[in-house]
């Protein structure tokens, strides 16, 4: 009896010994930098000398001098970045879920060459984001790009389009490349959900002569929905952080900036660590709120027992 609890105590002590190195590293690379970023957002820090910073309260977020509003929340380009990010997240996630479903249903069917198709679908996922951006940048090139050539050959467009240079079109180019790159991920997660479904339901539906479309909406969709939602949430959180693709694919102007791009521009290009940190902090808060809602609603399993 007492031997057993001594053993338990020893194991709990061991657990903390095993956890400490990981926790120390995590605090060092995540906790502390996050804390400093939030702190910097309340100062006038400049990249050239971070030690000479002064606490200025919330002035990076919003300030009023002589009736003139300044700060992040008064910057139209910040709001443009917010709109770009939210628009990109909504459109790309919806398209990826829809197309991911189609690809998953195809891969779930039994046909010759399924293994090859699955391998082919994985290729975009395996390609680094920067490389995908460059590959598509070349394909979407306004003069020598194959997309303009193809579209003109089949009569879809009459003159070449500046896909990545025109800010209004560039955001769609970004969505296109993101959909290409990320649909495999969605498809595989949905496929995993589909393959966990019990086969006898389908057998019963087939015998009863229920149409496949009805089976999909009445049986398949409700059953895989929880798995799909988790995948969508992960994807949406990822999409809100978008940086690489926009940075490389578009001409990187303020018009096409996402929230992450805006923050880095302030931080590195304009050396305004205070402003950049304020933008980073707001993005962090948005994602944090979204995550908390997602975890609560999604009821993520945490322990075996609870």
């Amino acid at each position: 009896m007492s031997g057993r609890s001594a053993l338990t105590r020893a194991r709990v002590r061991a657990a903390w010994q095993f956890l400490t190195p990981m926790l120390v590293v995590l605090v060092l690379v995540a906790g502390w930098p996050l804390f400093r970023t939030i702190y910097f957002s309340l100062t006038d820090a400049n990249l050239s000398d971070l030690s000479a910073t002064k606490f200025i309260g919330l002035e990076n977020y919003l300030a009023n001098y002589d009736g003139e509003w300044s700060g992040l929340l008064a910057d139209e380009y910040w709001w443009r970045a917010v709109r770009n990010t939210i628009g990109f997240t909504l459109v790309s996630c919806s398209l990826e879920t829809l197309l991911g479903f189609i690809v998953a249903l195809v891969l779930n069917a039994d046909f010759k060459g399924r293994g090859l198709v699955r391998a082919a679908v994985l290729v975009p996922w395996a390609i680094p984001t920067i490389v995908s951006a460059k590959m598509w940048g070349w394909m979407l090139h306004d003069q020598f790009g194959i997309i303009n050539d193809l579209f003109m050959r089949i009569g879809l467009i009459s003159a070449p389009i500046a896909w990545t240079a025109n800010p209004d079109i560039a955001i769609w180019a970004v969505i296109l490349v993101d959909v290409w790159k990320t649909t495999p991920f969605m498809a595989l997660l949905i496929l995993a959900g589909l393959q966990m479904l019990p086969g006898d339901i389908y057998e019963a539906a087939r015998i009863d002569g229920v149409s496949p479309i009805r089976v999909f909406f009445k049986v398949t969709l409700p059953l895989v929905w929880p798995a799909v939602m988790v995948a969508v949430i992960f994807r949406a959180l990822d999409a809100m952080r978008i940086f690489d693709l926009i940075y490389v694919l578009t001409s990187n102007t303020r018009e096409t900036a996402s929230m992450s791009i805006y923050a880095r521009q302030q931080l590195v290009d304009f050396q305004q660590v205070g402003m950049g940190s304020a933008a980073s902090t707001l993005l962090f808060l948005v994602i944090a709120v979204f995550t908390i809602i997602a975890i609560t609603v999604g009821k993520v399993k945490l322990g075996q027992e609870g």
Partner: protein, 277 residues
């Protein structure tokens, strides 16, 4: 075959064809473009004609691309090794031992994996400067850990939890310490999980861009993604697309091969991380 059924089969295979072409074409086109000379690139071609390796030579001659590749390998391998070691020990504690605060801890780790990278950018900048690691590979290894460590811990914990409970009981009765149990009992059983997680961590570190762009300054400290993104020509409108495509193919081929070899393991790793999450 009845006509309706035949039509269905044709439609299905047409859909399959569209999916495969859409998925593979950009990579095919990058390979095609990388094998054409810079003057040939101004004519659009859909099929390979002649093979020319000049872009592959140029990319190594005109910039320290070999050095960039080495940097990427060093950073990614170090990140994987550290993440797996810290992840395995932590996963043992989180997956096999009941202690107070375990749920909250797992929640925190999951939350960290949701951090937008840019949220730690200025704090990380300060940290890296403080350690004197600006424009160095250890600086990149350190910063990359925030990307790989949380999900390594999370996925390994999921795997660890699924192993039968009796495993370590016998070893403990024989008087083994937890450290010996991890090394002798779990390490051999965890190999498949370690390969999967290690591969995912490798890909994450290999592809990382924001930190590598911000925390390096000179060309010879850059990793491959930054080097490719910053390849420039004589002017902004004259990008050497042949070189860029050659560099892209060089860094992508190993990844595509790895992913295709380990495709089943990767899928199981991704689903362990996300669906079961």
């Amino acid at each position: 075959m009845k006509p309706a059924k035949l039509l269905k089969t044709i439609a299905f295979y047409a859909l399959v064809l569209v999916i495969v072409v859409f998925a593979v074409f950009p990579f095919y086109y990058a390979i095609l473009s990388s094998l054409r000379t810079s003057s040939e690139l101004f004519e659009i071609a859909y099929w390979p004609k002649n093979f020319n390796l000049e872009n592959y030579v140029a990319v190594f001659r005109e910039q320290p691309f070999a050095r960039n590749l080495l940097n990427s390998i060093v950073v990614a391998v170090a990140v994987v090794a550290i993440s797996l070691f810290l992840g395995l020990t932590a996963a043992y504690a989180l997956g096999r031992i009941n202690f107070r605060g375990r749920g909250a801890l797992l929640l925190t780790i999951l939350a960290v994996s949701m951090f937008p990278q840019v949220a730690v950018l200025s704090g990380m900048f300060e940290l890296i400067r403080f350690f004197g690691l600006y424009n160095s590979l250890p600086g990149l290894v350190l910063s990359n850990l925030i990307l790989t460590l949380p999900f390594t811990v999370w996925v390994l914990t999921t795997f660890m939890r699924e192993l039968p409970k009796e495993l370590e009981e016998a070893a403990f009765v024989d008087g083994a310490t937890p450290w010996i149990v991890v090394r002798r009992v779990f390490l051999p059983l965890m190999w498949p999980a370690l390969v999967t997680t290690g591969l995912l961590a490798f890909i994450a570190a290999w592809n990382e861009f924001l930190f590598a762009l911000t925390f390096t300054l000179s060309n010879d400290m850059r990793t491959v993604p930054v080097a490719i993104a910053l390849i420039t020509g004589a002017s902004q409108h004259e990008l050497p697309w042949g070189n860029i495509m050659a560099a892209s193919v060089i860094v992508t081929v190993p990844l595509v091969v790895l992913v295709l070899i380990f495709q089943r393991k990767i899928v199981s790793g991704l689903t362990a991380g996300a669906v079961k999450g």
